[in-house]
């Protein structure tokens, strides 16, 4: 057996009443890429952030190279050779790329009490080149970069210290093909230098390809560790969810099925900085997929449809001609919107689950001059039960929920309002299989009730698997309309995107 780099023994961590990690043990050998999977809220990120010193353990022990290891903060961790690339944005937007890479390590560039930026930028350039981010300017302010490049900066920051243990927490979500290549290349580099990698991801294929072994967590508890050939997608999914799941959780039928004679929603000739002459009609009971690359303008179109962003020209209206100009109007007219930025835009984190759910329905709940608190509570509790939101009751704050459960809160919000038209921007982004399945089922049942959905998505299988019609966008324009049929495949859709 080769040398063990990280050893975790009986680790515990709770947040308030939520037991995030319980009696968890793990070993990672030298030169091993170890995967860690589990549904949202299963404790993966909590565990990794404890190893990286971002959070402290309640109980348990960690060892690095056999030495006891109890990091108080990220600086401690980095001194022991542990680097973390986080799930969310882990760079500081208001300072430069180089300043981000050398954060807390600026001393080496000190020259007579001042920081020698020239040397610092040169050094940053070297590192960026080493990790495959040579197109980045070290002097650029981080906020001016796109999400993918910011992730590269973070990778550079983590790689700079030649980590013994590199922790990557669901970073590939934010990366496109090139970015992923860079990431894998760096994982290999750590491996070859005798370090190890703890790799957290939702993407099964990626996991199986990159990792040597994988540990499954469920509800904060260790489930199993699989190695090499044992790592099969279906087996992993079952261990994660804790029950058998269908191979295919998308729609079973392959025919477009909606009321083509009844238009419910119409966009006419929308022009905006990121949209050019976008027109389409949405029908009763239709799931309309809006696909394309991340910057094709589809996300912006979604915002315009809901009245969030201004458009230069064009008209968004219901079938009867009522125009939609602001979110307040849209909601009143029965249009709901799920933002892709769940934590900042779709849910109010520091607000209770109940308040989040009833927010759009408040005007309907009102009886005379009074807002009946009981009706509010009943509505909230009802939806918490119906969607099986995992929580300690509807008074709990949303920030304490896992990603999947937060998304359920967003859905509950619009279901409670009985919105007839839903604009869903990346409805399953960063969500594990269990909740994904539920969301797809929900979309189907909404469709059967005659509600209509516009699904904006960057994920090919989801677009093909769920949509009655797919509108493929490219360069801010609708490039192609594809009807549902068994023949539609990913290659066909992709060719209209690029």
């Amino acid at each position: 057996m080769s040398k063990v780099i990280l050893k975790a023994e009986n680790v515990y961590k709770s947040f308030g009443l939520t037991k995030a990690v319980q009696n968890f043990s793990l070993e990672i050998a030298e030169g091993e890429v170890h995967g860690l999977i589990g549904e949202n809220g299963s404790g993966k990120s909590t565990f990794s952030s404890m190893v990286a010193g971002v959070q402290t353990m309640d109980a348990g022990q960690l060892f690095i190279d056999g030495e006891p290891y109890a990091p108080k903060n990220a600086i401690d961790a980095s001194e022991r050779g542990v680097s973390l690339v986080v799930q969310e944005i882990g760079t500081i937007g208001t300072i430069s790329v180089a300043a981000n890479i050398f954060i807390n390590k600026e001393k080496q560039f000190r020259k007579g009490g001042m920081i020698d930026y020239k040397t610092m930028y040169a050094e940053a350039k070297k590192i960026l080149k080493r990790i495959g981010g040579e197109h980045l300017d070290p002097a650029a302010i981080c906020a001016s970069l796109n999400l993918e490049d910011r992730k590269l900066v973070e990778i550079a920051k983590a790689m700079y210290s030649n980590p013994r243990l590199l922790i990557i927490d669901e970073t590939s979500n934010a990366l496109a093909t090139h970015g992923r290549e860079v990431l894998y290349q760096n994982i290999r580099a750590v491996k070859e230098s005798g370090g190890s990698v703890l790799f957290i991801t939702h993407d099964m294929e990626e996991l199986i390809e990159v990792c040597d072994s994988v540990t499954i967590m469920r509800d904060g508890v260790y489930v199993d560790t699989l190695r090499g050939d044992e790592m099969v997608a279906k087996r992993l999914k079952e261990l994660m969810v804790g029950r058998e799941i269908a191979d295919n959780y998308y729609r079973p039928d392959f025919e477009p099925k909606y009321d083509a004679d009844t238009v419910v929603f119409r966009a006419t000739d929308i022009c905006a900085p990121n949209a050019s002459h976008v027109s389409f009609e949405l029908h009763k009971g239709e799931i309309l997929g809006l696909g394309g690359l991340a910057d094709c303008g589809m996300h912006e179109v979604g915002r315009i449809l809901f009245g969030l962003d201004r458009k230069d020209s064009g008209r968004v209206e219901l079938a009867d001609g009522t125009e939609i100009k602001t979110p307040v109007q849209a909601i009143k007219l029965g249009v709901g919107y799920l933002s892709k930025n769940r934590d900042t835009e779709a849910v109010i984190l520091n607000y209770s689950i109940g308040d989040n759910i009833v927010m759009p329905s408040l005007p309907d709940l009102r009886k005379g001059p009074f807002m009946p608190k009981r009706a509010e509570r009943e509505m909230a509790d009802d939806w918490v039960d119906q969607l099986e939101i995992k929580c300690n009751g509807s008074k709990q704050y949303v920030k304490e929920l896992s990603g999947g459960n937060k998304q359920k809160v967003v859905l509950a919000k619009w279901l409670a309002k009985d919105s007839q038209i839903l604009i869903m921007d990346c409805p399953t982004r960063g969500i594990d299989i269990g909740v994904k399945e539920i969301i797809y089922q929900l979309m189907m049942s909404l469709k059967e009730q005659g509600k209509s959905i516009i699904m904006i998505s960057e994920e090919m299988p989801e677009l093909i698997g769920m949509s009655d019609r797919i509108l493929v966008m490219k360069d801010y324009k609708i490039n192609k309309e594809i009807l549902r049929s068994p023949e539609v495949n990913e290659q066909e859709v992709v060719q209209y995107m690029v």
Binding site: F15, D58, P327, N341, I348, L349, P360, L362, K395, Y397
Partner: protein, 335 residues
């Protein structure tokens, strides 16, 4: 599930503890000064002083409660009060007391409407806006009053509104209206949602522009009310009327448990608890014969201790981080 119900109960309990902290602080201060002054603080004269002192701050707090819930503040309050009082005093001398009341309320509301319009339609930072409006109004006032310190209102008018029951009725009615708007109306709910997360609020059907605007309108109206009652108390209105009012209200609100960032924890009771707490403290100190400068110093220390303490305890009640404060461990750590 029994387990789930139990968890929910525990959760509510921890929330309750952090809710009750400011009230606990008030009771502690009352008892402390009750003992130190050997009960003198409860004499009818002392209580009346405490009432008079806290009354205006309670009104002011109620008026800007919506802004606080949104995570905003109105730093122009003092200046608006000064403006209302001068114009009000002028009206009182020319046209009588009814005109004075109307002028105060209308001028206050207009000021709030204008400031609110700018605040809700631009991206200007709220404290910069408040300060600018404050300078603008104060500068103008010193110009038009020609350095005259203040304008008196007719004594008979002052006398007519002096009885405590009038201010008490006004306060109770106003408090009830604000409480209703805050807890049972979209105005309050939406204000809190803006404080908790403005982008998400906007996407949940909150008319952010309107709510921000109305927050200032209500605050302006209240300034008019405060201006009138300040004149009733002092007998005159001038450029110095209401100076530092906004800061005193702010301190009272924070001491009363109002979170400075607004959001779900914003409560109307904070206006009362904080204002009464400060009034008890100041009077207690006077009764104890403390030097006014020493009083100020102690005030600073006490406020810092109270605010740090409240914050820490709230953190702990939320189960964030275990801590000990002066060796005191109030809330048991969960889990």
């Amino acid at each position: 599930m029994a387990d789930k119900a139990l968890n929910a109960k525990k959760y509510q309990k921890s929330a309750l503890i952090s809710d009750l902290l400011p009230l606990g602080g008030l009771i502690a201060v009352v008892i402390l000064f009750g003992i130190l002054t050997k009960g003198k603080i409860f004499s009818s004269f002392s209580l009346q002083t405490i009432y008079n002192q806290s009354f205006l701050y309670i009104l002011g707090g109620l008026g800007c409660a919506f802004l606080f819930a949104q995570g905003a503040i109105d730093l122009s309050m003092g200046a608006v009060i000064a403006l209302c009082s001068i114009l009000g005093a002028f009206a009182a001398n020319q046209y009588g007391i009814i005109a004075c009341i109307l002028v105060c309320l209308i001028v206050g509301t207009i000021c709030g409407t204008i400031t609110g319009f700018i605040y809700s339609h631009t991206n200007i930072a709220v404290f910069i806006l408040g300060l600018s409006v404050c300078f603008l109004i104060k500068g103008t006032l010193y110009q038009i009053t020609n350095g005259q310190a203040s304008i008196s209102i007719p004594y008979a008018d002052k006398k007519m509104f002096t009885p405590i029951w009038i201010s008490a009725v006004v306060m109770v009615v106003f408090a009830l209206i604000i409480y209703y708007l805050f807890e049972y109306h979209t105005m309050g709910k939406h204000s809190k949602a803006i404080g908790a997360g403005i982008a998400a609020a906007a996407q949940s059907g909150v008319d952010v522009t309107k709510i921000k605007w109305l927050g200032f309108v209500i605050s302006g109206f209240t300034c008019g009310m405060v201006a009138f009652f300040t004149m009733v108390k002092t007998g005159s209105g001038g450029p110095a009327t209401g100076s530092n009012f906004e800061f005193n209200v702010m301190i009272a609100m924070i001491l009363g448990g109002m979170p400075s960032e607004g959001g779900a924890r914003a409560k109307i009771k904070s206006c009362f608890i904080g204002a009464i707490l400060i009034a008890f403290y100041s009077n207690g100190m006077v009764l104890l014969g403390a030097d006014s400068r020493v009083q100020e110093i102690l005030k600073g220390v006490v406020f810092i201790v109270v605010i740090v303490g409240t914050y820490r305890m709230q953190m702990q009640a939320e189960g964030k981080k275990a801590f000990q404060f002066f060796g005191l461990k109030l809330a048991k750590k969960n889990g």
